[in-house]
């Protein structure tokens, strides 16, 4: 025993790690092999049987994962765009042009102390950010990103979207109530009043659109708008779009309707007592919400993943298989020739640059060109790539608009907010609905 312990003590730290890890890995491998051998067949069978379930699980995981980079991107956009509109340069220290600053903010929030105030209800206090964030993420499920690229296609997709979006108010109320703070309470109550008021014009504004489309599946709605951009619903439902946009701004708690966390009135609203990652969840949920409402506006009124014009059906005419041996030769020679060709300008014009640097630059450029060409090829050949790009481009135009509004507008007062919803938006939405219904009766769908 002593011999063994002495030998063990003489080992370096990596040695100890390796000596511990190898048997462990072996054991795990054997166990895995056994499990797969015994259970593998049934699992594959189950997966093939419930393919939709498996697909949904994968899609939900992907959605959960992509929310974080999306939030980071939008936070960075907000910092930089608002800075530019204020004639500032904005973040420029962390990463190229400050691109990593939002990530740094997010990670900082993660490693902050996270505590519960003494008067708070710990359970509700902890659950509230989860509810808020969860409701945002769950609305993403029905969003069609591209043809075939969606998590789930409900036939009541739009209804599901509104229902899940309305769930966020529960989380905000929980946060406001449980924080043991009057500012939080005011923020929570404000959010409840605001959400409840704006749900009605929000739902009514798309009612006309639903009459036109005859479906509630978001996928189907997007598919209806294919072809030229005149097919987009915004041209048939301009009033509906305006109402939807205003209501959705209020739903996402963005300026000028960001009363729930009006920091010059009720310090940080419902999030006043939150610190650390629980505050981070609220912070992320806000920006994920911006993405979601922009995406939904695009899907409903701006043709979703459709290009603004019917895209000419291009295909790569060259079949790689027909080249035979030349394919191999091409793969061998083209990089060489491309690198040399692209490094030629540097070699000829910049006499101060050593030859190897020019060649390295040429190689980098060649890679950029090839990646670009591959992108174009993917854009042309796979319609989901093209659809995704169109969708994201349109969505980020709306994200820009939200940020732009935040940079410009002051915030409204709570009674003006409610009065606007009930006295202006709701009658206008009803008018829109009646006019649409009448037009359908007269003209037909």
């Amino acid at each position: 025993m002593t011999v063994m312990s002495r030998a063990w003590g003489r080992l370096t730290l990596p040695g100890k790690v390796i000596f511990t890890a190898i048997p462990l890995l072996l054991a795990v491998g054997v166990a895995l092999a056994l499990v797969v051998g015994i259970l593998g067949g049934p699992i594959v069978e189950l997966a093939s049987q419930y393919g939709a379930v498996l697909r949904f699980l994968v899609a939900a995981t992907i959605i959960l994962v992509i929310t974080i980079p999306t939030a980071f991107l939008i936070i960075f956009m907000e910092m930089k765009i608002i800075a530019f509109m204020n004639l500032r340069v904005g973040p420029d220290r962390v990463g190229p042009w400050g691109t990593l600053l939002s990530v740094v903010h997010g990670l900082k929030v993660l490693v902050k102390e996270d505590f519960t105030p003494s008067g708070a209800d710990p359970l509700i206090f902890t659950l509230a950010p989860v509810v808020v964030y969860g409701s945002s993420v769950m609305t993403l499920v029905v969003l069609p990103f591209a043809p075939g690229l969606f998590a789930q296609d409900f036939n009541i997709g739009l209804l599901y979207f509104f229902a899940m979006g309305g769930l966020a108010v529960v989380g905000l109320l929980m946060a406001g109530w449980s924080s043991f703070n009057k500012y939080s309470l005011l923020g929570g109550l404000r959010s409840a009043a605001q959400m409840v008021s704006y749900e009605i014009p929000l739902t009514l504004s798309v009612a006309g659109l639903l009459l036109l489309a005859g479906t509630m599946s978001v996928n189907q709605l997007v598919a209806n708008q294919s072809g030229w951009f005149t097919n987009w619903y915004v041209f048939q439902q301009p009033l509906g779009f305006v109402i939807f946009f205003i209501a959705v701004t209020a739903e996402a708690n963005r300026t000028p309707f960001d009363l729930t966390e009006a920091d010059s009135e009720i310090v940080a609203g419902f999030a006043t007592e939150y610190s650390g990652m629980r505050f981070g969840f609220f912070f992320f949920a806000e920006y994920v919400n911006v993405f979601i409402v922009s995406a939904m506006t695009v899907a409903l009124f701006f043709g979703g993943w459709n290009a603004p014009f019917p895209f000419p059906a291009l295909a790569i005419l060259l079949d790689p298989g027909s080249l035979g041996i030349w394919l191999l030769l091409g793969i061998a020679i083209v990089p060489l020739v491309g690198t040399l060709l692209l490094s030629l300008p540097f070699l000829l014009t910049r006499s101060s640059m050593p030859a190897w640097q020019a060649i390295v630059l040429g190689f980098v450029l060649f890679n950029v060109v090839v990646i670009g060409l591959l992108g174009v090829w993917a854009f042309v050949s796979f319609d989901w790539v093209a659809g995704l790009l169109w969708f994201l481009a349109k969505t980020y135009v709306f994200v820009f608009t939200f940020v732009w509004m935040r940079a410009t507008l002051p915030r409204v007062r709570i009674d003006q907010l409610m009065g606007f919803a009930w006295k202006w938006l709701m009658p206008a939405a009803l008018l829109n609905l009646f006019v649409t219904a009448g037009a359908i009766l007269v003209v037909g769908r």
């Binding site: 220290r93 102390e113 939150y274």
Partner: protein
């Protein structure tokens, strides 16, 4: 809390309050802590965070290194310090004149957002740095200290302006505190009356260095309010 009564000393009886050349020590009967973990209960055990860090309680203290992340070895700490240094959110708390130069450092001409210090949080729960900008009066000292105690760890304090550094031009007034380091720990002093916005930016860059090097008051910080014994 009883005052030690050491017997055996012969002292002249004080003839009146006016002739008393001694510090007046009043036992605290005004205030009792809400919980046992409040400040007054555990000051006798440990006085500085470094001592506290060596106890068993500190290992359960997930506030310091962010819970689960404490298992990551020391290289990760360096990354965390880099992250913290580049994302210092100040608390939006202006007391007096210096507040305007503090805001000026955040505006377009001198853009402190470039360093990742822009979102001036209104709530102390989400702030990292307390920039005390302006004269601290005795009436404001309690609320400011309360703000400081409400901020979650890790946190830093920057004293901006002469009044907060040393009392400045109000040192001789009856109602001001001659330097906020009498009531709270300070990491960076930015002198000036008021300092230029560039001065504050320079001070914040120094604070970034402190955070990266893990210097400053962080390990040496006293637990609870600090009162120097020789004032």
């Amino acid at each position: 809390m009883a005052v030690n009564d050491a017997a055996g000393t012969t002292l002249p009886a004080a003839s009146g309050a006016r002739d008393l050349a001694e510090a007046i020590v009043v036992p605290n009967t005004l205030w009792t802590p809400t919980g046992q973990s409040a400040t007054a209960a555990n000051t006798s055990e440990y006085t500085h965070l470094r001592e506290w860090a060596e106890t068993e309680g500190a290992r359960r203290d997930d506030a310091r290194w962010g819970g689960a992340l404490e298992v990551i070895p020391t290289k990760a700490d360096y990354v965390l310090d880099l992250i913290r240094a580049n994302s210092l959110w100040p608390l939006l708390s202006g007391l007096a004149c210096c507040a305007f130069e503090m805001m000026s450092s955040a505006t377009s001409k001198n853009d402190i957002d470039r360093f990742g210090m822009f979102p001036f949080r209104a709530s102390p729960r989400q702030a990292d740095v307390l920039i005390v900008a302006g004269t601290l009066t005795t009436k404001m000292a309690g609320p400011l200290l309360r703000l400081w105690e409400q901020m979650p760890e890790p946190k830093w304090c920057v004293a901006m302006g002469d009044c907060t550094c040393s009392g400045g031009r109000y040192k001789r007034s009856y109602s001001t505190i001659e330097g906020i380091d009498r009531v709270m720990p300070v990491d960076v002093y930015v002198p000036g009356c008021p300092p230029r916005p560039e001065g504050l930016i320079y001070g914040m860059m120094k604070l970034q260095q402190l955070v990266k090097d893990r210097r400053g008051h962080w390990p040496e910080r006293a637990i609870g309010p600090t009162v120097p014994t020789d004032v």
